[in-house]
């Protein structure tokens, strides 16, 4: 089982603290919602976990090891970080072919994933003609190419219509039921409340809550608890 472990993670950009002594787990077989206000350090934390940013202190481990030491990283972790991370002149199929080649994954996976995200018809068109929802689905297809045990998704519902959001929720639940580890960062608290098993809330780079959603929102709602934990004094109850 491949879990994600963040241990005492700290990152300073110059003098600015983006993440401070952050510690939490995202266990296998569960969907962990990673939420916080803008600038809370969510993207920085995920980028450190994926080896894109070097931490100032602490560590981020996937299956017990740093991302950079994974032999076939794309077969362990699938990530969608920036929805617009697509070359506009490349076709959807060619974008996936490049990812498949770099992951050492057979090309037939490209057609399989295009089928999963329902982009077969548009695969031959250049990405510059894609809608936001299509770009998001293409990004997801890319993350799934290596059949990874871990999925790290930053705002995956962005640009999806209601049917797409419901489809995504269903797929994520299915992946979790298969034993995969899912970490989803999102601002759509109502959607997070319907999807996740665990919640990690950060504010100003610090942990405010990490634990089961059911315990946090037992007496009120995710939104109410989120706003309570992320506004007001930092030394409020957490």
């Amino acid at each position: 089982m491949t879990a994600v472990a963040i241990r005492d993670l700290t990152k300073y950009f110059g003098k600015v603290p983006a993440v401070q002594a952050l510690t939490f787990d995202a266990p296998a077989g569960q969907i962990t919602g990673f939420i916080g206000p803008n600038g809370a350090g969510k993207t920085t934390t995920l980028r450190i976990a994926l080896g894109l940013v070097r931490p100032t202190a602490g560590e981020a481990l996937i299956g017990g090891q740093p991302y950079a030491t994974l032999t076939h990283p794309r077969r362990v972790v699938g990530a969608v970080l920036d929805a617009p991370a697509l070359h506009p002149a490349r076709t959807g199929r060619d974008h996936l072919r490049v990812l498949a080649a770099s992951a050492g994954v057979p090309e037939r996976r490209v057609d399989e994933m295009l089928g999963v995200v329902q982009l077969e018809g548009a695969a031959g068109r250049r990405v510059r003609g894609y809608s936001m929802g299509m770009r998001q689905r293409l990004g997801l297809a890319g993350a799934l190419l290596g059949d990874p045990a871990v999925l790290i998704l930053d705002e995956p519902a962005n640009g999806l219509d209601p049917a797409g959001i419901a489809w995504l929720r269903g797929r994520l639940r299915q992946f979790a039921a298969e034993g995969r580890t899912i970490v989803v960062s999102s601002h759509l608290l109502s959607e997070v409340a319907q999807t996740v098993d665990r919640v990690v809330i950060v504010n100003e780079g610090r942990l405010r809550y990490a634990g089961p959603l059911a315990e946090l929102a037992a007496e009120s709602s995710l939104e109410a608890e989120f706003l309570r934990l992320t506004t007001g004094a930092l030394d409020g109850a957490g």
Partner: protein
């Protein structure tokens, strides 16, 4: 590494940048030859075919831009994230790009040379002369210019990795060539022959603006040192920097 090379080649083949630059290079070469021949030069003079073929050296600017897109283009379109997720050992990625784009620059130079030779031969024939293909100077020019293209493509990769922003990197490169090499070199005198474009011109067996010039062998060595320097900087900065 073979996988990385294949991936970089696939990236290059699935966008149209290289093809546009090739098309532009062909146009520049043909226009340059037409310009030279339009002045009715002496077909028997040794310098005439060299003047015509020398436009393959100008193609080195296109090779430079192609190299710049290798890394800076990925930052521009944010695909650098996917690239480093697939291969967290960034040094290997940069080396793969250096290899693939140097070869691409070489191919660009070869294609431009073929067009230049053909165009020059056709023009000579239309004026009643014939191109002397046995002239060793002609081949020294062609081979030198092709190598110049390959070297500038590699330097472009390094420059793009250092600056990371596509438009500024291209601007810096062209401004350097126009201002530093074009204008300042007049003031630097003999020392200007060590500058990259001057060295490239010497490698291409073409006239240079600086007084005193390097031999082709010396110029090749100077460019190789530039390539090594830019490659080292490219690898070091790519490994060290955060990708935010």
């Amino acid at each position: 590494m073979p996988t990385l090379l294949g991936v970089e080649l696939l990236k290059l083949r699935t966008v149209r940048t290289a093809w546009w630059l090739l098309a532009a290079a062909v146009v520049v070469v043909v226009a340059g030859i037409a310009g030279v021949m339009g002045q009715n030069p002496d077909l028997n003079a040794a310098s005439t075919p060299i003047d015509a073929l020398g436009h393959v050296g100008v193609v080195s600017l296109f090779a430079l831009v192609l190299g710049i897109t290798a890394v800076a283009g990925e930052y521009r379109h944010r695909t650098i994230t996917d690239t480093y997720l697939s291969e967290p050992h960034r040094g290997r990625v940069v080396v793969a790009k250096l290899i693939v784009y140097t070869v691409a620059g070489f191919v660009l130079g070869l294609a431009a040379s073929a067009v230049a030779l053909l165009g020059t031969a056709v023009w000579f024939a239309s004026k009643g002369g014939s191109l002397n293909l046995a002239d060793p100077q002609l081949w020294r020019t062609v081979v030198g210019c092709v190598c110049w293209n390959a070297a500038f493509a590699a330097i472009g990769v390094g420059l793009g990795a250092l600056i990371r922003h596509l438009a500024p990197a291209i601007t810096v490169a062209l401004a350097w060539l126009a201002l530093i090499e074009g204008v300042v070199s007049q003031l630097l005198g003999g020392a200007a022959r060590w500058l990259p474009f001057q060295s490239g011109s010497a490698l291409g067996n073409l006239p240079t603006t600086s007084s005193g010039r390097l031999t082709q062998g010396q110029a090749g060595l100077v460019l190789a040192i530039y390539v090594a320097g830019f490659a080292a900087v490219a690898v070091w900065t790519s490994v060290k920097r955060d990708v935010t």
